[in-house]
Amino acid sequence: MKGIVYSNDLISPSIYNMGIQLGDTAESIQAGQFVHVRCGQSYDPLLRRPISVCQIDAENGIIYITYQVKGKGTRWLAEQVRGSKLDILCPLGNSFEAVMPADINEIWLVGGGIGVFPLQLLAQQYKDKADIVSILGFRSDEFKPLWQPFEQYSKRVIIATEDGSYGYKGLVTDELTLALRAHKPQIIAGCGPSKMLKSLACIAEQYDVPCVVSLEERMGCGIGACLVCNCKIKSDGEWHYRRVCADGPVFWSHEVSFDE
């Protein structure tokens, strides 16, 4: 599918927000789903890059992604300007909605760093159905533009920064634990570095709160065919490799084996 770049702005050091015109497809996308973007026509980089959709402007058929420039692919993305054409596969992945029960009216969003983007769309899409509390952790207040979008959708936003430059000093999981002592939400949705997700899964189990997480893994096809993106998922006491791109990226946290 072709997408047309609508905007591409540096919002924080090395982090860009890009609007992409996708027409009618835009409104069909669910939080947790991602786009798989070809970065140029060269064979270097060769593979597409998976990026979560973080915001949708359904009326204008525009989706937004926020991405950090890390290597060749994202560097290419950052060079695109309004009007540039993108080769996109979308929407891919299962979405939070596909995993969570239907009757959700209270969600806590727990995210870390550049893992907050799928949660941003979840907040946008559930803001009228559910009470949302966003508990987000960042390295420092440089990342303010990443949590600001959560403010309009959330009943409450709790920010933790590692250097204490904003909000609470410490880890997002510490803030989560504190909050859970006071109240247990209907469900937690998490996304972030795998170390964070591992503690999140622990804490959720400890407090007995259902918890879904969105995983990241290096991908090939992104559509479920090449089996390179697999992660260990337990069910009925056994584990199997499941495809993050097609069976996920969203799984119940207690089913994920974070061991490797």
Binding site: D44, C221, I223, A225
Partner: protein, 304 residues
Amino acid sequence: MNEISMCVDICGVKLKNPVIAASGTFAFGREYSRYLDLNRLGGISVKGLTLYPREGNPPPRIAETAAGILNSVGLQNPGVDAFISNELPYLKQFDTVVIANLAGNSRDEYCVAANKLDKADIDMLELNISCPNVKEGGLSFGATPESVYDITKQVRNYCHHPLVVKLSPNVGSIKDVASAAQDAGADALSLINTLLGMAIDPHTRRPILGNITGGLSGPAIKPVALYMVWQAAQTVDIPVIGMGGIMNGNDAIEFMLAGAVAVQVGTANLVEPMATVRIIDDIEQYMLDNGLKTIKDITGGLIC
């Protein structure tokens, strides 16, 4: 009035065109059916099958390299029985040639599985003796002319379908292993499987792949693959199916000029789900542009 015929005949099996989806990159076709009409393909070589289901290797299983990818999937597959009961009926709905790609850990395993597939409604068996991603067996069967001869001969006993032997590039002489496969009764050859490779993250000082090493595929290996296909085609009398880094019609034509009767497309599917169909269209356009009537007008047509 289109008088072009893209048909090819590989040991009695008719393919409507010379483009086959390569094993391991196309699963069992289901995922791609959303992106293209499977009836358009010359054939589909399914994900490598083993006698028993396999979970495969620990992640990460892919590393991008310059113009290539390393994969270490390690033959994750549901096993031959599940393939025959769950996947084959799905594939048989389509008018395309179904090639079962078979791997194993031991001679016995290969033979028992081949025997099961022999009774199944597949069109061809592709003997994968070149998978670099499994500890026991796999690659070692494909490493020397002697071992290639031996495993081909064994499986031949159980296989009445046309038998395609898929060669490994990780050998000293591709001519010798190609001859060995032919001598042992292969009906056709396919090559190349992936080149052994690895990638390291200098910051963590660890290999990128969970399995440490993996198989290199994609445009990076095309020159090596083309050379090997050219060598093999000059050596054997049986048909050769070429692959390795084919991304577009011109790439496919290069392999056919070097002597391939058909090609397989692997990594390109991961980059662009419609790659096979685009390549078919490209080849047709090339034939039109050059006034060619059949694929035979291309195969082996290298001038040198």
